[in-house]
Subunit: 150 residues, 4 copies
């Protein structure tokens, strides 16, 4: 598939983070825990800094924290691909499987968009404890895309 249509929209990491800070500051309420590490055509890698408020008994990361990471990292991949037009994308569905107990450290999400239609994007997020090989959670998220000109 030609990627020409997206070329002029592409952002680098610094501009993408500035855009999100400007338009969507709530994502960082309670402290800045997400860092965008890498973005590409239909892909993103996001780090979630370990913080005590996200803990569960036994020192693991809570399910809702992993949900947040998965949801946010798919959103980043959409903006990375569509540019500023993606900022109004809205999650319509998220399916998450918890696979293994995460460790009490940073988590990293690796996302690829497996569908990017005119109206709907679907992204797959793979979550790992930083530096560990086994996936701790897997999520598929669908986003409704804003309609141009509305």
């Amino acid at each position: 598939m030609s990627t020409h249509g997206y070329a002029s929209n592409r952002l680098d990491v610094a501009r993408l983070e500035a855009l999100i800070d400007d338009r969507f500051p709530q994502i960082h309420s309670g402290g800045r825990i997400f860092t965008v590490e890498e973005i590409g055509e239909r892909s993103a890698r996001v780090r979630m800094r370990h913080h005590e408020r996200m803990l569960r008994p036994g020192g693991t990361v809570s399910g809702s924290t992993m949900f947040s990471l998965a949801d946010f990292s798919v959103y980043v991949a959409i903006i990375a691909t569509l540019g500023e037009a993606g900022i109004d994308a809205v999650t319509t569905n998220l399916n998450i499987n918890f696979l293994a107990k995460p460790e009490a450290r940073d988590m990293v999400a690796s996302v690829s968009l497996i569908r990017l239609g005119r109206r709907l994007a679907v992204g797959e997020a793979r979550l790992y404890s930083d530096g560990a090989p086994d996936m701790v959670a897997h999520a598929i998220a669908s986003y409704a895309l804003p309609t141009p000109g509305r």
Copy 2:
């Protein structure tokens, strides 16, 4: 179906909340926002108090906050049904659909368990903005149940 097998495990709301406070205090880290309003055989209703930290642009409730409410309320229904044995149940999968923009007020989750096997429970959570008729989110959550005697 006979419910005799569960009768001796049943808790009232006060004892259930005390049990969760004792065994799972992290659920209330950052402030006590969940209140168990009603429990029954395979069912529960949980209120989430509105709080600014859960907000999204436009004053709506964030997706991860709704995830937390759905996940927690299914967990409450499991403990309501199995008693203390349910406290070690662990979420394995959660699928959530976001249906409408929630309002900036309390949310209420109504749960029923649609499967309660020996090893796996599945609960359905319907989320509403307090007092409003339309469902704002719908979730299905699967929990692995602790194996007796292990």
Copy 3:
């Protein structure tokens, strides 16, 4: 919510089945196993006739057969609500939980649409073995709706 907008689109069961036969005859390839029993505003009930080709070991109904029933019955509820405009709706996601072993007889699906937006409909299907009280499968299906005038 006012239902005036849909009033002129509403079909009765006979016209709905004729419409599907005309526009989507493949659904009955291999034999007519689905019967629409009832339709309403955002709801439908569909019966799947028992047939040997859908069996699994032990005489139960196969997962893909239950998928078909869930998917088709949500589609019926969309057409029941939107009228002929719904015929081009396309499934984008289906999440199904298998709850109990179905019996070797007819299955009945009861559907309600929990979201009916401009571009996306979400329906919930509850599947039962005919005459038995316990749900054997539960599905949530999302459909992309055709855009008027395109």
Copy 4:
């Protein structure tokens, strides 16, 4: 991860297909459309032969046919990994996203198991039209594993 624990259970493709034919012949009722092309530790690739009965309007493959392929190919990966012990695994949940219109030809599913616990396995299936680069459907399936000695 050491794979020693599974080593003695491993099957080659011919023995795996013979085992399924013997224990689960219904999978081929209506004609043999599935061929196991490759199996490995926690992985499988399965081809679904194109056949007119699986068609939808416009010549594409039906959703329930893709469901069957996804479900079966995860099942194959479980048996490939666990050996004969896996034959009694039962699907508990399947979430499928339809990403693009499939073409009217063979489909190939590529599976990897992302969780293989004592009681639960989770597999991810990627479905392609034979020879085409874009994924047409993506599924995550959970299977309850048989308990040894019960």
